[in-house]
């Protein structure tokens, strides 16, 4: 028994000492060490994929991606708990202590069931629907059915983009259903011909292409797709940023550089975002 514990103790000691030895020995030409990235759950899946690719290129590097929302991304970078923060919006004026590194653009699109005859909704109609001033589809598309209003849970960045664009306050919105992630909204709308929701354009486009029973409505006459997003024509959109504080370590710098290289474009598009490489 005692031997076993002593063995364990030694293993733990070795385990503890190993990384420090490695990092001091491998300072020659390759990068090494650990990079911590935290923040927006919209950016996190993409960041994880980038991290994997980056780890393949640099064997001595470990990248740790954690979610917790844009606000956590900012708070962690400020407290220097993380190296890079993920923020799924433009930085606010009060956040000018941080440096943004624009990664991609994401859009929010209004979705309805594919059977719904409606072709487009005006901003005023969308406002009225979410404020329950219009409760029936009749005045919009002639179908006498009650509208099922789907809203997002508080704190989600899609909700922020949506409410800000339509000048709504979340406390004034009277939803019938509150959802967490995009997938849940798409499933509900696909199974309810009278529902309306808003989700990330990437998620909506992916579902439409894969035959899910939903359609994305155009806004101000601009169809909701990734191409219009890339050309910055689609109004309901947001920036996806990496943020850093002050002087950036060589490792972070290398990762940020990698995240802007042309080889990541297909990965970004896989997630339904639009890559911004021309800088």
């Amino acid at each position: 028994m005692f031997f076993y514990f002593r063995f364990l103790f030694i293993v733990v000691l070795i385990g503890c000492e190993n990384p420090t030895q490695q990092s001091s020995e491998n300072t020659s030409d390759t990068l090494s060490g650990k990079l911590i990235i935290t923040g927006s759950s919209t950016v996190a899946p993409l960041a994880s994929e980038l991290a994997k690719k980056f780890e393949d290129l640099h064997k001595q590097v470990k990248v740790d991606v954690q979610t917790g929302g844009s606000s956590r991304g900012i708070a962690d970078v400020r407290r220097q708990v993380s190296d890079i923060g993920m923020v799924s919006r433009k930085l606010k004026a009060a956040e000018n202590d941080l440096t943004p590194h624009l990664l991609a653009i994401d859009g929010v699109s209004i979705i309805v069931n594919a059977k719904n005859p409606v072709l487009e909704l005006t901003a005023q109609q969308i406002r009225d629907i979410y404020l329950k001033k219009i409760v029936n589809w009749q005045s919009i598309n002639g179908v006498d059915k009650e509208i099922t209003v789907i809203n997002k849970a508080e704190g989600r960045s899609t909700l922020e983009v949506f409410t800000k664009h339509f000048q709504l306050k979340n406390r004034d919105i009277k939803p019938d259903v509150i959802i967490g992630d995009n997938e849940q909204g798409i499933k509900l709308v696909a199974n309810n011909p009278n529902a309306i929701a808003y989700v990330s354009i990437g998620a909506a486009e992916y579902s439409v292409q894969h035959g899910v029973n939903v359609k994305a409505l155009p806004l101000n006459g601009v169809p909701a797709n990734t191409q219009n997003l890339a050309e910055k024509r689609f109004p309901l959109s947001r920036e996806l940023n990496f943020v850093t504080l002050g002087e950036v370590s060589p490792l972070s710098e290398a990762f940020l550089h990698f995240s802007r290289s042309s080889q990541i474009k297909p990965i970004v598009e896989e997630y339904g975002f639009v890559a911004l490489l021309s800088r």
């Binding site: 028994m1 929302g69 508080e154 704190g155 019938d176 259903v177 199974n191 009278n194």
Partner: protein
């Protein structure tokens, strides 16, 4: 390795397992208290019952609708699954032919083994559109109750089965010899004897019902309100945590941990309550 040494090794292993069990519970409770401590020590704890609504980003933290939601869903699901479970168990034990009883028992076991998210998904596709055809929006208290009933009743059935098995066989044989009907044997001899076991099952399954998260989140609509009817959406404490934890900061986060702590104590209370019934002797 001498037998004595091996024995010691085993005992140490068992002790370690027991320690890990106790420690993990302690650790979870400590962690919940620690995370919600900033709220527990603040003077205005009453705001969680007196605020106007639940708008955490505006600093309003009314927990009452979620507590009501959790309790309503739990009672609703138990209302359906208790009779369903007990009747199925009685059918399996006393009425069905052997092969049907075996088949039924296997089916119930399989139902109990299906992950709850599958029930949730099934609820979105089947129950919600059906309820929506009666009254929009479909995602409602009733949808939650129905889906939760399906999740809870297999466990209730299995508890009821084991409670029925513990009934003294001699009493049943005597009753048969006296020429009592099957119904009156069940009503006057079997059920009274199985009562402690049934009660334990009910209470433990209530704990399961109030703790269920994902399936409920998928079909309940999650609007923070005290529902006016069965067809209105509700949000439970567990869905609230699951929906908002990923994005919660500071006081909002603590408020979610507080609701976690609340749930923990409810389940703890239910388990203690079930212990009370267990101690009742099974035979007279």
């Amino acid at each position: 390795m001498s037998p004595c040494y091996r024995d010691k090794l085993f005992i140490t292993g068992f002790k370690a397992a027991a320690c890990i069990t106790v420690l993990s519970l302690m650790f979870i409770i400590f962690f919940l208290i620690y995370e919600s401590s900033s709220i527990l020590t603040s003077t205005n704890l009453s705001q969680y019952l007196l605020d106007e609504s639940w708008h955490p980003t505006d600093g309003e933290f009314l927990l009452t609708p979620m507590i009501v939601g959790s309790v309503l869903i739990m009672f609703g699901a138990m209302l359906f699954s208790i009779p369903l479970g007990i009747f199925t168990a009685i059918l399996i034990h006393y009425y069905a032919p052997v092969w049907i009883a075996h088949l039924l028992q296997r089916i119930v076991e399989i139902l109990g083994g299906i992950p709850s998210v599958v029930f949730g998904f099934w609820g979105i596709i089947m129950i919600v559109p059906f309820l929506a055809s009666i009254q929009a929006p479909g995602t409602s208290l009733l949808a939650g109750v129905l889906v939760l009933t399906l999740i809870v009743f297999p466990g209730m059935t299995l508890f009821a089965c084991s409670a029925l098995q513990q009934v003294n066989k001699l009493h049943i044989q005597n009753a048969i010899a006296l020429g009592l009907s099957r119904f009156s044997i069940i009503k006057h001899i079997i059920l009274p004897q199985a009562k402690p076991g049934l009660l334990t099952g009910m209470i433990l399954q209530s704990g399961r019902a109030i703790g269920e998260t994902l399936a409920v989140l998928m079909v309940c609509g999650n609007v923070v309100q005290i529902p006016g009817s069965l067809f209105e959406p509700v949000r439970t404490l567990t869905s609230n945590i699951a929906l908002e934890m990923a994005y919660a900061m500071d006081e909002h986060r603590s408020a979610l941990f507080l609701s976690g702590l609340l749930l923990m104590f409810v389940v703890l209370g239910l388990v203690l309550l079930s212990e009370k019934f267990k101690s009742v002797p099974i035979t007279e």
